[in-house]
């Protein structure tokens, strides 16, 4: 009897490990569904109060593109649906390239790109307008004497061409590269700005900004990157080419490790009333707080 219990216990333990992995995927979709439901519910309660205020918009606004823009576009979409409860807002996270193609082919209203449009794309009849900026801070341990790196040095460090802090004016210590996991928007942003896509020799790949900051704060030889909004005095933020990353330097473009979040539409073609309303809403100064909340720098 005892043994059969032990066998069952072992099986359950083993299963437990797997269910944890399996259910995560479903949770993501379930969570998305609940958020949508919750927003709708919240919106419904508000409708009575403001039926007169907004003119009645209905229909769907479809957006498609950059996965890095998930948090910004998610928060804008949710608040927009609260204002206009009859509008369904959808976001398809496919990547900047696919989003731009989707607008061109008319498969969505607004494309989302986390890079500026290329010349051939604007020549092909597309128009891009920046909705927010994403600044990425380079962080090192507080004990590290290095205070400034050039963009080029950062790229060389992450590619493994510079491996010792003494080469960039620091202590004689091997540089420990801390990064994010594959698929992370911050990683994608950092690697595309520094031109190190698929070349980074990471020592650690961590799954959250908080983990990156903790790890860098623990290791005097570590360097990492994190969204500008989340850095604190736990670590030291480096200046890049002599420019300190702040909202202002990101906004005026002098801080280099940044990229635009762009809304892409067809030039000269009118959007549907609801899509135009969302576009104007996203570009208005009312949403500056929401954008900051999502970790980006608002520009309007």
């Amino acid at each position: 009897m005892k043994k059969s219990i032990a066998i069952i216990a072992a099986a359950v333990l083993a299963m437990g490990a797997l269910t944890a992995c399996g259910s995560k995927a479903e949770e993501t979709t379930a969570a998305a569904a609940t958020t949508a439901a919750a927003t709708e519910a919240a919106a419904e309660t508000e409708t009575e109060a403001e039926t007169e205020a907004a003119e009645e918009l209905s229909g769907a606004v479809a957006t498609d593109g950059s996965t890095s823009m998930e948090s910004v576009i998610g928060i804008l979409g949710e608040s927009f649906m609260q204002l206009h409860p009859d509008v369904t807002f959808t976001y398809n996270p496919t990547g900047s390239g696919s989003g731009i193609t989707a607008v061109q082919e008319g498969r969505c209203d607004i494309g989302l790109s986390s890079r500026a449009l290329k010349d051939e794309e604007t020549a092909g009849g597309l128009k891009g307008e920046t909705v927010a900026l994403d600044g990425i801070a380079i962080i090192v341990n507080n004990e590290n004497p290095v205070t400034d790196l050039s963009l080029d040095q950062i790229a060389q460090i992450y590619k493994g061409e510079i491996t010792n802090w003494s080469e960039v004016g620091g202590n004689d210590e091997e540089i420990v590269l801390i990064g994010r996991e594959a698929g992370s928007g911050t990683r994608d942003g950092f690697e595309s700005i520094t031109g190190t896509e698929d070349l980074c020799q990471y020592r650690q790949e961590l799954t959250s900004t908080g983990d990156v900051i903790t790890t860098v704060s623990q290791n005097p030889a570590a360097i990492g990157y994190a969204s500008l909004a989340s850095v604190s005095d736990q670590t030291k933020t480096l200046t890049v080419d002599g420019v300190e990353p702040t909202e202002d330097t990101v906004r005026d473009g002098s801080y280099k490790i940044q990229r635009p979040f762009v809304l892409v539409t067809k030039d000269g073609e009118a959007l549907s009333a609801q899509a135009q309303a969302f576009y104007d809403y996203a570009m208005s100064s009312d949403v500056a707080d929401l954008i900051a909340q999502a970790g980006a720098v608002a520009i309007h």
Partner: protein, 288 residues
């Protein structure tokens, strides 16, 4: 009459509850197989299982999971090499040598150890063990296979101690008394008589430890560095099968996500094998 009715109703309820468990197992198995097969077919089973490079979001993605498989095997083996001697000796000491008070203290400590959530092991590992290893071995970064092995070794201790303890206690007193009567010392008796008599129970303890170690995700994710390197050295940053699934799942899409399910399937097969081995050992124990 009425009592019989209640009896059959209760039996029926128990049957349903039993079936729920079986249904869960079946559901997970079927789902994992269905979700895991497409990516393996697309990547090719040889490239998937024996490919040495994992770059799931690169311009030309590569999905080789050999580094994860080897890391899981090495990590588990390392945890067993460190954890089993400690756990086994603790069990022998607790079952046979320790005075009553010390025995109770050990049992309390072991059950407390078993109850600590794995994220706590990970956190302590991240804040104390990883910097400690860095300083002790004078290496650039302490997050490594070695750190994961230490954490896993501690995590499997409770299962090893508890199951070995049960096995040692089941050894008939007469065996030991006979040995003592023939002039053997106490320690000789424990290691020459009690331990061999309990050996399949102890083997089961080891297999249970393997199962726990290979399935652990959270704690190792926080101390192993998580870079998809081949585990060439103890002090390298590595990724386990479990952490490969857990770390990329949240932002994954397309083939990358399917490949993560395939990794879960591989892990599942490993655990099935371990359970089969465990069943075999238990059965042999019952017959012998």
């Amino acid at each position: 009459m009425n009592r019989h009715k209640i009896e059959s109703v209760v039996k029926f309820i128990f049957l349903i509850l039993g079936l729920v468990t079986i249904a869960c197992v079946l559901l997970i198995t079927v789902y994992l197989v269905i979700a895991g097969i497409p990516a393996i077919r697309e990547i090719g089973i040889i490239d998937f299982l024996f490919g040495t490079k994992w770059a799931s979001t690169a311009a030309e993605p590569q999905f080789g999971i050999l580094p994860f498989i080897l890391t899981s095997i090495y990590g588990t083996a390392g945890a067993i090499v460190i954890g089993v001697p400690i756990g086994f000796m603790t069990a022998v000491f607790t079952a046979k040598v320790a005075p009553r008070k010390i025995r109770m203290a050990i049992e309390e400590a072991v059950s407390l150890l078993a109850g600590i959530p794995s994220v706590v092991y990970g956190l302590v590992g991240m804040l104390i063990l990883v910097p400690g290893i860095r300083d002790l071995f004078d290496i650039p970064d302490g997050a490594s296979l070695f750190a994961a092995i230490i954490v896993l070794a501690i995590m499997i201790l409770p299962s090893i101690i508890n199951v070995s303890l049960t096995a040692l206690e089941a050894v008939p007193k007469e065996y030991e008394e006979a040995s003592l009567a023939l002039g053997a010392t106490e320690i000789e008796t424990y290691f020459r008589v009690s331990v061999p008599a309990a050996k399949s129970g102890i083997a089961a303890a080891v297999v249970l430890g393997v199962g726990r170690a290979i399935g652990e995700a959270m704690a190792v994710m926080m101390v192993s560095g998580n870079a998809p390197n081949m585990p060439d050295s103890l002090f390298q940053s590595v990724r386990f099968l479990t952490t490969a699934v857990a770390s990329e799942m949240s932002y994954s899409s397309g083939l990358q996500r399917q490949a993560l399910f395939s990794i879960a399937l591989v892990l599942f097969l490993f655990i099935m094998m371990i359970n089969a081995l465990l069943n075999f050992l238990m059965k042999r124990d019952k017959e012998g």
